[in-house]
Symmetry: C2
Subunit: 347 residues, 2 copies
DNA sequence: ACCATGCCCGTTAACGATAACAGTGCTTGG
DNA sequence: CCAAGCACTGTTATCGTTAACGGGCATGGT
């Protein structure tokens, strides 16, 4: 009823109804002081009556800024990344930005197209969790907008990034297992080409060196891409004559696969893993997890990006690297009598 | 280096370099056949050299359509909604749309502002998981763009929607508990003002009627908003002299809270719940879950929306209601010897 | 009386891309 | 030899909004 064909009413329509020009409507909506009170009221009345909303597309074009930032994650179904996205959105909203989200589904070859699409939509900046280990395709985007990497560091690029204490967390969790007296620890890891995979292995190794134990190479399995692969690898380890005395997993999906394998095999082993996950505390396993605030990664990344947007004119600051701390959490076993530990304050 | 001040090179810049007009550049990039091969090559060369990308904002304005659809979910951190979002994105991408995502964090009062923001950004349609039970605020948005509701039906509105078989799923899962001989079943539910809360209670009730059992009103707890509330309610139930013989939970967070309570109380009870969740199969509980494809809700919602966008000129079809089927999955107990059931084919 | 000053509001010209139209030069047919 | 057609490319106007400027009108100071 309101418009003839296309979208909705324009400022001209509002102006016609309020008997002013479109410019005056623009002024009213911008809270420009140079408009009389009576005119202002007429304009607001017309806006209400037509259900008018400013066309953000036209504003973006005129004002030279879309008010959007782009986020590319590898797997939104993983709570880690959805929390990261929420952290980005929280800070973005705070600064008046909107978030355009893409999911690369861990396919590095899809990533360039996603990024180009976001740049086409005039995002003012990008936050990317890179799917692959190489990132040349980001160089093109960086010619247009600032880019911040999350969870993985730049390789051959000069950008800000936000990382987790991968090395430190893995070292500490492994140290817990060693301190408990387990020396034959299996390592179940994601692909070593990924930064997190390499760093967490380094931490695993460092913890061993500190206590003078040599890890058994036969117990190191890398390149596990999902829970199913981790489950198979674990079953395989359990079938060995010299089965490991404990397990270290480099992320939540791998931990879950390993736990499923233990369950199916009807056995149990002390397990330490990167990333906390739901119900980790009720599995009845001696479970040590490296916990950290995934939202915070998103928040920090958004802050770095928006800070850069604010100073895009001055001398560009050197690229920064922010680290989000990790914390080792020991989930007890049922008979360990440690019921009321730090269990779920809110979530 | 490329641009003087603002964003990036324009078609004029490309044209200048290729010694043609901006119009010709536009034609080349649109794959218009009426351009000579030599010109085409010069243009592409200039595009490459400048790293030129079409300004989607300007195109949207001129062409009258932003190529974006908006999605509002209540809680992206819940895997249910992140999967839904992935489903929306999958279909949106297939049809050349991009997804603008907002999270209402279950706060119904924030929702109107989020929706207005999306409309301002010229989304061509909206998919909304409404946070509250009333939806008047959607009427304004519907004057601008088509709206599809997901997971909850319209109340006082005429829109398409995609629902889960809430009633049927709850009835079937409850029936499983009853069939196993449990008659004193506690109901742990989300707020009854929400459609899902009411429907699932109705299903719970119907299953009882079918076998001629009267549910005990004292065992019905509604209005549980998170896992912590469910945990408290469960501990309270367990403390009763006449404790329930089984539990029915209306969503994944409530199930998790109940499970945590059981664990802390050092006891176990048969449990049925809506929504499947990670590791449900390794908890060692007699656990029955109502499983369904959250991605599919998003896909169907996106399809309904895009279908309506395609026919926006013709007679608007009557509002449609699509239902996504549920499936009851029984996760066994460890000594139940049902190891290789339908456990994680891919995910 | 006259110009300076402010207030309020309209006009014009962009932002970048593109549909519609208008050439330009070259070929073809009568 | 000119009209008509084709292949190719440039001009103009437009999408909705807003910065910059200009103009009418009233007030006030001299």
């Amino acid at each position: 009823m309101s418009a003839r064909r296309g979208s909705g009413p324009t400022m001209h329509d509002v102006g016609r109804l309020a008997e002013v020009s479109a410019m005056t409507v623009s002024r009213v909506l911008k809270n420009d002081p140079g408009v009389s009170e009576s005119t202002r009221e007429r304009v607001f009345a017309a806006v209400d009556r037509l259900g008018y909303r400013r066309n953000q597309t036209a504003r973006s074009l005129r004002l030279g800024g879309s008010g959007m930032i782009g986020l590319v994650v590898t797997n939104l179904a993983n709570p880690f990344y959805s929390r990261l996205a929420l952290g980005v959105q929280e800070v973005a909203t705070e600064y008046g930005f909107r978030m355009l989200l893409s999911n690369s589904a861990e396919q590095a070859d899809r990533e360039p197209a996603l990024i180009d699409g976001l740049v086409d939509h005039q995002v003012e900046g990008l936050i990317v969790v890179p799917a692959g280990s190489r990132q040349q395709h980001l160089a093109g985007a960086m010619r247009h907008v600032p880019v911040v990497l999350a969870a993985r560091p730049p390789a051959g690029l000069d950008t800000d990034c936000v990382l987790v204490e991968d090395f430190h967390g893995a070292r500490e969790a492994t140290a817990c297992l060693l301190a408990d007296g387990h020396t034959r620890i299996a390592f179940l890891g994601n692909p070593p080409a990924l930064y997190t995979g390499a760093e967490r292995l380094r931490g695993f190794w460092a913890a061993h060196e500190e206590v003078g134990v040599e890890p058994d190479h036969d117990l190191i399995r890398q390149g596990l891409v999902d829970a199913a692969a981790a489950e198979r690898a674990t079953l395989d380890l359990l079938a060995r004559a010299d089965r490991p005395a404990a397990l270290f997993c480099t992320n939540n999906r791998i931990s879950q696969g390993a736990i499923r394998a233990l369950y199916k095999a009807g056995t149990t082993l002390p397990l330490a893993g990167f990333d906390d996950f739901d119900l980790a505390d009720v599995l009845g396993l001696p479970l040590t997890v490296v916990s950290y605030d995934a939202d915070e990664i998103g928040r920090q990344a958004a802050r770095l990006l928006i800070d850069r947007l604010a100073h895009h004119d001055g001398a560009p600051p050197a690229s920064r690297r922010v680290t989000v701390p990790t914390r080792v959490v020991r989930h007890g076993v049922p008979d360990g009598a440690d019921g009321p530990d730090g269990a779920t304050p809110e979530a």
